[in-house]
């Protein structure tokens, strides 16, 4: 091709001649085959084409704590009560209140707002109750929609107004703890929030019917 000539006097159209010679040697017909082989090798290295195994769902007892990066929750009690206005829930004719007493600790490093449709209440789902709680309140001073400070445990009440005969005394209530993922907003969204609940543990607790309260 270009032998023995000084590079400053090489004419322009053969300046990249060596590159052309090299690329002529690459077997372009084999590109597809080589790419497929590389893809399969990488897939095999990452575990193959089978579906990833979902994490096991642990079965817990009432009083056991479920801890993740967002919250640590323990179910203390589930009660059925005629009225529970201190918890911020108001019932109509033919309704009673189903209240869950939950000990919560914020394990994240920012405050978490425990409102009825927050990531805190999405971390706990009740079989048979599709809606989020009607109200969330602290058990000790009845603060509605409490803010959970990082590392500070609190006992909160999640309350639903339900049909009077929807639940019986000593009925087993199946609850699911969900793990959420921390999402960082980008482009048009700003901040960080917890989203995408994935079932991680279950608890079965018996509902106590305490009548009018006490």
């Amino acid at each position: 091709m270009t032998t023995g000539r000084d590079s400053s006097t090489r004419p322009a159209r053969t300046r990249f001649g060596w590159l052309r010679a090299a690329s002529d040697r690459v077997p372009t017909r084999w590109f597809a085959g080589i790419a497929t082989a590389l893809f399969l090798a990488a897939t095999a290295a990452f575990g193959g084409l089978a579906t990833a195994a979902t994490p096991d769902i642990t079965a817990l007892e009432p009083g056991d704590e479920h801890r993740n990066d967002q919250v640590a929750m323990t179910i203390d009690r589930a009660v059925l009560i005629d009225e529970f206005e201190d918890a911020g829930v108001y019932v109509e004719e033919g309704e009673r209140v189903l209240a869950l007493l939950v000990s919560v600790e914020n394990t994240w490093d920012e405050p978490l707002s425990a409102t009825p449709d927050s990531s805190v209440t999405q971390s706990l789902t009740v079989d048979g109750l599709g809606d989020p709680p009607d109200s969330v309140a602290r058990y000790d001073d009845a603060t509605i929609n409490p803010v959970l400070q990082p590392g500070v445990p609190a006992q909160i009440v999640l309350a639903w107004a339900v049909e009077a005969d929807a639940f019986d005394d000593a009925q087993e209530l199946k609850l699911t703890f969900n793990d959420m993922t921390l999402h960082t907003g980008s482009f048009v969204a700003n901040g960080q929030w917890w989203t995408d609940p994935v079932a991680a543990a279950t608890v079965s607790i018996a509902v106590e019917d305490i009548g009018a309260g006490g």
Binding site: P111, V147, G191
Partner: protein, 181 residues
């Protein structure tokens, strides 16, 4: 061109590129808030907020009127006022950062949290922060602002050394009222 010149220019360009990468501001730099840092006892003035922190107290129990609660409480006594407009102006951002964790002013007692501010007329009161029992805080940073979204507005930032403050057994929050100072 001489070969050494080519290499020298190439090397200089690489160094320049490294320098540009170092001084490039981060992605969110265009939306950063404007912090005004002051000490305890000094008045910090932002665009529409001016705060003077008078005292920082720590206690094992906090009370405000009839409400009381035990815990690891940090109580900040402060004066707050607006500067140019008071329509819809509230002290909505009040956080204490200790050891990498951010605590928000507690909503449990009545306090200056989300209190409305007046232009030129300071309101005095307290903010209460509930910390975990096992945290013995040393350096803390108090941040105060008008909106929980602090981007592109002023923030008053007060660094506090909590290790110098003795822990009382009980502390009462000051009522929210017009400042008499």
């Amino acid at each position: 061109m001489r070969r050494w010149a080519t290499w020298a220019i190439g090397g200089a360009l690489i160094v320049a590129a490294w320098g540009v990468a170092l001084i490039t501001p981060p992605e969110d730099a265009f939306e950063r808030p404007f912090p005004v840092t002051v000490g305890v006892g000094e008045r910090g003035e932002g665009r529409n907020i001016a705060i003077t922190v008078h005292e920082v107290r720590r206690a094992e129990a906090a009370s405000a009127g009839e409400w009381t609660a035990e815990g690891n409480w940090v109580i900040i006594d402060l004066d707050a006022e607006a500067v140019i407009s008071e329509f819809g102006t509230l002290l909505s951002l009040a956080t204490l950062e200790v050891d990498g964790r951010t605590y928000a002013a507690s909503e449990r007692p009545d306090s200056l949290r989300r209190g409305s501010l007046s232009v030129g007329i300071p309101r005095s009161g307290s903010l209460a922060f509930e910390l975990p029992d096992d945290v013995d805080p040393a350096d803390a940073v108090l941040t105060l602002g008008l909106d929980s979204d602090p981007r592109l507005d002023s923030l008053i930032v007060v660094p506090i050394d909590l290790s110098e403050i003795d822990v009382e057994s009980d502390a009462e929050l000051q009522p929210s009222e017009w400042s008499t100072r």
